[in-house]
Each structure stands twice: as structure tokens, then as C-alpha cells.
């Protein structure tokens, strides 16, 4: 049994945290080969080779595989598939774009957002926005799945895997990349941050979201937002935490002005410590918070920013 793990590479950088956590998830399934795809990914491939638990890094140095373009990347993975019993990737936007395509081309089902690997054919995954956990068994010849990385600790470094160049099919003229607009930020990445400070509808406006950001910056935290805050235009969508956004599990999650809709809880309930600041003492968020502060956020948050 061998596992092919499709790595996330953004602008030549390996998304190390997501790959390292996926390595932990699939550690019991056999020898793991990491696929790094995209021209200029040499450094990313070298970094992947240094992760503990990787036996081989496959590097496809082709321009067609840049920017995670689904058609070409899926064709590449399908070309390599016959050597593997499992094909997986972290459940990022990039992999969710590619792996279902891979699965269909192999005539197998895909499993998204796996939270536990029980054995070589049995997996757990959340359904209904995390309101139920399903254990499923796959009878397919090759198991194709994405891993919800928040559920796993990151594998360490110190590995020295062999590097092998591979080539594969591309997808002639189906689609082309125009541009990426990725917000430049000095803050840690939302899904791997140790602390996340999130604002909800209670923050009230885009301007007042500065309060959330100020506290986050003081704590060295990433900034998150509830779907209600995103829908109201207070925060960009890539800050969204929840079933329809990102799933996070930091050491500390601070929910400010967030009522605690089920869809939000699905994105943060695995955090180690949860703090809720809300003026409504009946807000459902208090039912899952380790520390709740019933207070007006416009007073409490600046005070906290000043005192921590």
C-alpha cells in the first residue's frame, strides 16, 4: 500500500502546515509520496522532502501545474494513480478543486474533509455542517480523499526523502490563469494560527472591525469572522470561519460579537480554549465557551487590547 499526497503550493511556497498535518492523518496507511506540482517548485519540493514520514517527493516541474489549475493537475495525478491505494490532500480550496476531478476520472468516489482515518478503507467525516459525523467504508479500488487538517497535529521535520522528477499529461487550452488577489498580511495564516480572534455581526461595521484586528495584532493572532459578519460586508470572505468558510482549531479562539450559529461552531469547536465576548448572555456561543464575558464589546475589546 502506498499513499500519494498532493501538496498545496502557493507561489512556489509549500503550504507546510497543511501538508504536515495531512501526513499525520495518513501515517498508518503505508509509504507516503508527496507530489509537488508546478514550475519553480524546487524549494517547495526540497522542503517537503524534509518532513518526517515522507518516503519520496515527486516533483512535476511544469508550467501547466502552476496556480493549482484543476484540469492539468488532475490529469497529472491520474497519470500517477496506478501505483497508489490512496490519493489524498489537505482539504484546502486548491485540493477540493482538484481531487473530485481526479476521483471521477478514476471512476471512484471522493471523500471530502476526512477527520479520522479508521483503517485503510474506513473514514470519518462531518456532514450537515458538522451536526453529524459519518463513518463510511469505501469499496473503491483507490481511495481519494481530502483531510480536514484542523483535526491533526503537524508532522515534524528531519526527514530526508528522495526527490524524483515526474512528468504527466496536461490539459490543452481548457482554462487559463489570469491573476491571484491574495491579501498581503503580516498576520499568521488563519488555519495554522495559534490564536484566532474573530468578529461577528455584533461588531456592527467594517470600520469597527478595526477593534478586532487591533486585539489580534496585539496577540499575534489571525483574524476570523462569522458568516454573518462576512455577509454584512464587515470582513472579507477569506476570513470566514465556519462550515462554509475555514475550519480552525487554534490553542485560543476568541469569539467577539458572535452569537454562535451552528454553522460557525462547526468551524471552531475543536479549538483548545474558547473565549466568548458578547453582550447577550443568552447567546449560544456561551454554551461552548470555556470563558464567557457578558459585556459590550466596544468597551471590553479595547480594554483587553490595552491590558494583554
Amino acid at each position: 500500500m502506498a499513499v500519494l499526497l498532493l501538496a498545496d503550493v502557493n507561489g512556489g511556497q509549500l503550504a507546510t502546515d497543511s501538508v504536515a498535518k495531512t501526513l499525520t492523518a495518513v501515517a498508518g496507511l503505508g509509504e507516503i509520496h508527496v507530489l509537488v506540482a508546478g514550475q519553480g517548485g524546487d524549494a517547495a519540493a526540497a522542503e517537503a522532502a524534509g518532513l518526517a514520514g515522507v518516503s519520496k517527493v515527486l516533483f512535476a516541474d511544469g508550467h501547466d501545474y502552476c496556480h493549482g489549475m484543476a484540469e492539468a493537475t488532475a490529469a497529472l495525478v491520474v497519470g500517477l494513480a496506478s501505483s497508489y491505494t490512496h490519493i489524498c490532500a489537505p482539504a484546502t480550496a486548491a485540493a477540493k478543486n482538484v481531487l473530485p476531478r481526479v476521483a471521477a476520472l478514476l471512476d471512484v468516489m471522493v471523500l471530502s474533509d476526512v477527520t479520522a482515518v479508521i483503517d485503510s478503507e474506513t473514514f470519518e467525516r462531518p456532514i450537515y455542517a458538522g451536526n453529524a459525523i459519518q463513518t463510511v467504508k469505501s469499496g473503491d479500488k483507490v481511495k481519494v480523499f481530502t483531510v480536514r487538517t484542523a483535526a491533526f497535529a503537524a508532522a515534524g521535520t528531519g526527514g530526508a526523502a528522495a526527490l524524483e522528477k515526474v512528468t504527466g499529461a496536461t490539459a490543452e487550452g481548457l482554462s487559463s490563469w489570469v491573476e491571484d488577489k491574495v491579501a498581503a498580511s503580516d498576520r499568521p495564516e488563519l488555519t495554522s494560527a495559534k490564536i484566532v480572534v474573530s468578529g461577528g455581526r455584533g461588531v456592527g461595521s467594517e470600520a469597527d472591525f478595526a477593534l478586532i484586528e487591533a486585539l489580534a495584532d496585539k496577540l499575534g493572532a489571525a483574524v476570523g469572522a462569522s458568516r454573518a459578519a462576512v455577509d454584512s460586508g464587515f470582513a472579507p470572505n477569506d476570513w470566514q470561519v465556519g462550515q462554509t468558510g475555514k475550519v480552525v482549531a487554534p490553542a485560543l479562539y476568541v469569539a467577539i460579537g458572535i452569537s454562535g450559529a451552528i454553522q460557525h461552531l462547526a468551524g471552531m469547536k475543536d479549538s483548545k480554549v474558547i473565549v466568548a465576548i458578547n453582550k447577550d448572555e443568552e447567546a449560544p456561543i456561551f454554551q461552548i465557551a470555556d470563558y464567557g464575558l457578558v459585556a459590550d464589546l466596544f468597551q471590553a475589546v479595547p480594554e483587553m487590547t490595552q491590558k494583554v
Partner: protein, 253 residues
Amino acid sequence: MKVLVPVKRVIDYNVKVRVKADGSGVDLANVKMSMNPFDEIAVEEAIRLKEKGVASEIVVVSIGVKQAQETLRTALAMGADRAILIEAASDVHTDIEPLAVAKLLAAVVGAEAPGLVLAGKQAIDNDMNATGQMLSALLGWSQATFASELSVAGDSATVTREVDGGLQTITVKLPAVVTVDLRLNEPRYASLPNIMKAKKKPLEEKTAADYGVDVTPRLTVVKTSEPAGRKAGVKVASVDELIAKLKDEAGVL
């Protein structure tokens, strides 16, 4: 250009989900069902393309139980032109897997020859986020997932996609499959006159067998369980107390 929009009948997003006591699944008996919210956005976008003169006809397709007719009527009331129901299950608890759905849709695409398939990025029941990508793969078409902006010009479409960390813009050659994300648009409500009119719009009934597609699941559900609960902690009286607890008790600051 004809636009095809698959729509799924799912539990209404406001309904509290209950896991059945025997662990066999989620209880859907006598529960309010609605159109998958992402599919509503896809229907809305198709209607807007028609209003702009880009789309000529909107065909909606639903695959599942007979009751999915209601979902199709909702889409027709919003503004779709005609509907196809593919009956593939008799029990509301039977979820047809994305791979089988994609195969059926590929067969419909073969018969209807649309220039664009607009689909929701995921269904809020199984949360698989797969059908659009799988359909695109089976057809050998281009794909653009998680769209927050879409413009069609000539034989290509420019799509802005919601990706981790921001947005990505790509162009795809038509025909293509585009899956839609939350911020693409706000779906309209169907007006009463349009609901009445929708009852007269054509709705064709088919079965999975008509298309020669085997919908036998590839995955066996071993069990369905409630997620592990989290207990409420303590209320603190002040910011000072909160900071003290986080430092001394939780050790996270």
C-alpha cells in the same frame, strides 16, 4: 446559449439536524426540505445571464426522490424555463452519491448540449463539494469552482474564485462547469404570479435507468453519530479576570 442548472432537495438550512437513535443517519421524515442554498445562487445566476441576453434557455435538473419536483417548481418559479426530474430513489433517506449524480448529469448534458452548467459548490447535507468537478471531469470540460464573479464573453467565461487567502481569476473555455459560492449573488424570491405560472412550465420525468446509469453507492455508511459535545465553561466578570484566567488557568497567553 442553453444553461443547465442541477438543483438538490435538501433539509432546510434552518432546521435543526437530528441524528437517528439507531445511528443509521439523519432523520429526514416530516422535516422541512428546501432547495440547497448554493443551488439557489446557481439558478439566480442563470436567470441573470438570461436577463443579460447571454443565456437563451435555462433547464433545471434534480436527481433523487419524486418529491424533488417541488424543488424544481421553485426553480421554475424563480425563472427557469423547464425542468427534468430524474427519479433515482424512493426513500428520502437515500442520498445519491456525487459520482452517480455526475454520470446522470453527463447523460443529460449529452442530450441537451448546454454551453454552461452552473452548479452549487456543495450540498448542505453531505457537504461533499464534488458533483461539479466530477461532471466536468466526465465531460472533459473546463471547470471553475467556488465562483464569486462570472462574466461570459464569446466562447469563454471569466470567473473570479474564492480561494484560501483571497481570490483567483481564471478564464475557462466554454462549454464549462462553474460551481458557485455564497457571494456570487443574492437569489430572488419567487413572486406569487410566478409560482402560479411555474405550475404550467414543462417538467419531464425520467428515471436513472432511462440513462443507463448505475446509482449503486460506492460508499457504505457504517454509522452516523452526534458530534462530541463541548461543555459550557465559566462566566467571568471583567476583562481583568478574563486575562488572569487565560494566563494562569488556561496558560494560553
